[in-house]
Symmetry: C2
Subunit: 301 residues, 2 copies
DNA sequence: ATGAAAGCGCTAACAT
DNA sequence: ATGTTAGCGCTTTCAT
């Protein structure tokens, strides 16, 4: 009947959920360790990508941010039990994550954004190691010999993979790893600044920085000491955030397909809820080196 | 019975919603006009504040982002009708917003983040006009006489209020408004950069920039032209985002209590759902001038 | 094919 | 105070 359109009828979602045992909602969980979470546009970008994919699939997106251990404890049951969510995306898991364990012991379909060792967990990830490898190889091909790196925090799988890519690129070319050229940050702008200051005495002629946000901090440190980029020090970032292109100089960086990994996560959830959790679905998407001025090899501007 | 704890029982939210006619969810709607939404940490910060307040009140937070007109059309019924949400927060409404009209014609409790003319709508806002007024007065007191401004987009109420504050501060001191000293941006870093370039020929000796993100862009333009801050041009931003303190030079800015406006929005929703929508609840929270080096009046660093 | 009825797991109103 | 029952508005199954 088309009286349905005239009266402006819409089914009651609660009744639908109860009778149909599906809520039409998916949960995006952002764990707390990420202090500087929103200082870096990575998470916002991911949220937007996932939101858009949810709209396309007619899901409602709920955001669960753990701001403290207590909140985490209180929220975990809501996430794992019940019919609250038809699926859950966990953005950036920590090692030995309690949430993952609980999720594994329950029925709710879930995917991680970022890889995980446990063979039972499904995930989507960008190829962080290959991206870092490409960046560092590029610097080496340009003749840089003292290539340093600013890594992300040690509890981040992405940071570990990027560091690994850096190392393989060097060792594959017969370079040894100089510990003085490896400094860690926490993905924040200021940690990039501090890391660069720490690096300067070791006289690097290039730096692979594990995020654009930290690269901005590094750039600031370089500018303050009058170091020329790329003349004295070449710089490559990671992420290809919007401001990478407008930095001074424009930042060469590794583009990560956040839109695609985000929407793929939603697709996988959809698939799992249709076909069950087995086998685990794992996808690693390629990254791409975007060459701008900061590495000293630009053809464009 | 405490068998409840032993079996790890948790009530089914769908059944609860259906029987109790309350979903325990609140929706946060972010309309689409904000293109650069996540290039500016303002929204992320707001999201985090609201998320935290929701956790405290035991609400689940759903995020609705309109990425296109179609999505908006598809989502509005879900937001306004049904028992999907116990309340809705609208972040940054546009003028003549369709969503607001629909919300007004339905029962769902809602609050805007940012003021609105219609006397029936409840909102929380920061005192943008007073903040801008304080910033510009401060610059004037420091002896600056050609005070320019970079405004936000014209469809933003916050941007309009900040511009109004700028104007009143000048006219109250007997200055006239020089149109060449007023340029508009869109809250993005690059728009701040372009606006500053546009401003330079008019020889301002101070600029009030309507957001920290744009101020960063302005700083970049100033640096590229060798203009000294604050010696040649004093700068004041708005928001007090984390990176304002670490900019070169550290940015004097107007602090906006995002955490408080965010959690107040949740509180108001809670209040409305208890006591009904009448009368409209409106709160404007004070802003605070944070003095750092970029205005040339620092006592600290 | 179309229509009637039986729950889904709670809350709230009622009766004891 | 405690226990019982009637729906909430759908989906699904079963009968026609």
């Amino acid at each position: 009947m088309q009286v349905i359109a005239e009266t402006g009828y819409h089914p009651d979602p609660a009744a639908r959920s109860l009778a149909g045992r599906k809520s039409g909602m998916i949960g995006l969980v952002i764990p707390l360790e990420i202090q500087s979470m929103f200082a870096d546009p990575f998470f916002p970008t991911l949220i937007q990508a996932i939101s858009s994919a949810c709209n396309a699939r007619d899901y409602i997106l709920s955001l669960i941010i753990f701001n403290s251990k207590e909140e985490e404890r209180a929220l975990i049951p809501k996430i794992t039990r019940n019919q609250l969510f038809d699926g859950v995306i966990v953005a950036s898991s920590r090692t030995g994550d309690l949430l993952i364990e609980q999720l594994l012991g329950n029925e709710v379909p879930f995917v991680l954004h970022g890889r995980h060792e446990d063979p039972r967990v499904s995930y989507v990830d960008a190829d962080n190691a290959a991206g870092a490898y490409a960046a560092v190889s590029h610097l080496a091909r340009l003749g840089r010999s003292r290539i340093a790196t600013v890594t992300g925090p040690s509890n981040s799988a992405a940071a570990a993979d990027r560091k690994r890519g850096y190392m393989s690129a060097l060792t594959d070319r017969g370079h040894s790893i100089d510990e003085a050229l490896v400094v860690s940050g926490d993905f924040s702008e200021s940690s990039g600044y501090e890391a660069m200051q720490q690096l300067l005495p070791a006289k690097p002629d290039a730096v692979f920085v594990a995020s654009d946000t930290m690269a901005l901090g590094a750039l600031r440190a370089l500018r303050e000491t009058g170091t020329r980029v790329p003349l004295d020090v070449a710089l490559v970032g990671f992420d290809d955030m919007p401001y990478a292109a407008t930095a001074t100089p424009p930042l060469t960086t590794v583009r990560q397909p956040i839109d695609q990994t985000g929407s793929l996560a939603v697709d996988i959830l959809f698939d799992i809820s249709q076909n069950g959790r087995e086998p685990a679905r794992r996808t690693v998407m390629p990254t791409e080196l975007v060459i701008r001025r900061s590495c000293g090899a630009s053809t464009v501007g």
